[in-house]
């Protein structure tokens, strides 16, 4: 079972490959879309590379949920997530910093949840579970 540092280094290498980012930009707090310039197509590339590097399977929507807000009208209201929405987000993304997001739960801020750290935590949990 690799250490957090080892996982972080592998994830960072993947993001450098997939996004053309600088190693130094890929801090744990760096957001994929805001700081590293990722686009939705890059998410698929990242998932593919993570699967290859860590020899795991990452089913669709497990790391990056699709169309979260669009799926259920009870989850959002006037461009922000409702309490039900935030709860659902916690359920779907246990590896993300939802508390930080909950302070300003606008739908457009969901993308700020996708940080380098989120991917590292996700891989840690996945490798520990052995799935």
């Amino acid at each position: 079972m690799p250490t957090e540092k080892e996982i972080y280094e592998k994830v960072r290498e993947i993001l450098v490959d997939a996004l053309g980012a600088d190693e130094s930009e890929c801090t744990m707090d760096a957001t994929l879309m805001g700081d590293l310039g990722a686009e939705s197509i890059d998410f698929l590339d990242i998932v593919f590379r993570l699967e290859k590097a860590f020899n795991v399977k990452i089913p669709r929507g497990e790391l990056f949920p699709d169309n979260f807000a669009a799926a259920d009208p009870n989850l959002t209201k006037d461009g922000s997530l409702t309490a039900a929405g935030i709860a659902e987000l916690r359920k779907r993304l246990p590896h993300a910093d939802v508390d930080k997001f909950a302070k300003d739960p606008k739908v457009e801020n969901i993308q700020d949840l996708f940080t380098v750290g989120m991917i590292v935590k996700f891989m840690e949990a996945k490798l520990a579970a052995g799935t």
Partner: protein, 165 residues
């Protein structure tokens, strides 16, 4: 202009790899501008040929039931030229197939000489969002114009000769 940047498949192993050829000819209009006095196959069109080879390989794996579109080229390197009279051979290897799309690794050779190599990421288009004709056009692209011969050289996933459809 008909957007065929491969001429024929010469090898096709369903779900695994495929080889297609493209003959570079002086009859291609753009060569006279690319470049004047020094006609060479544009890299972008070699990339398109590799994408067509890989995209059809991916599409066939799902029986052409998904609309395959070129989404991202994470890496591509051009090593040497392809000139009029050359036959380019594109070799595509299927690296990953999933519901969302797939990844192929491709090379382009003229004989033994490596001309280009690329990693190409494809997406499956959400059929509910796509206009109805897009899926049909992909099937037509493959099954018209003698590209149909992929089925003659092909082997299905279980090693048997691919059936004509």
């Amino acid at each position: 202009m008909r957007w065929f940047w491969i001429d024929r498949f010469v090898e096709f192993e369903s779900g695994s790899h495929a080889k297609a050829v493209k003959n570079v000819t002086l009859a291609e209009e753009h060569l006279h501008d690319h470049f004047p006095g020094f006609p060479v196959m544009p890299g972008s069109l070699m990339l398109e040929g590799m994408a067509q080879t890989g995209g059809i390989l991916l599409g066939e794996k799902n029986g052409f039931n998904e609309i395959v579109i070129l989404a991202k080229v994470p890496q591509v390197t051009f090593h040497s030229w392809a000139c009029p009279g050359d036959t380019l051979t594109y070799t595509a290897k299927l690296m990953d197939v999933r519901p969302e799309g797939g990844v192929v690794e491709c090379t382009a050779h003229v004989g033994e000489r490596l001309v280009a190599e690329a990693e190409i990421l494809f997406n499956h288009l959400d059929k509910s969002k796509a206009a109805g004709s897009a899926a049909l056009d992909q099937k037509n692209f493959v099954f018209s114009m003698g590209l149909l011969s992929i089925l003659d050289v092909g082997t299905a996933g279980d090693g048997s000769a691919a059936a004509n459809s």
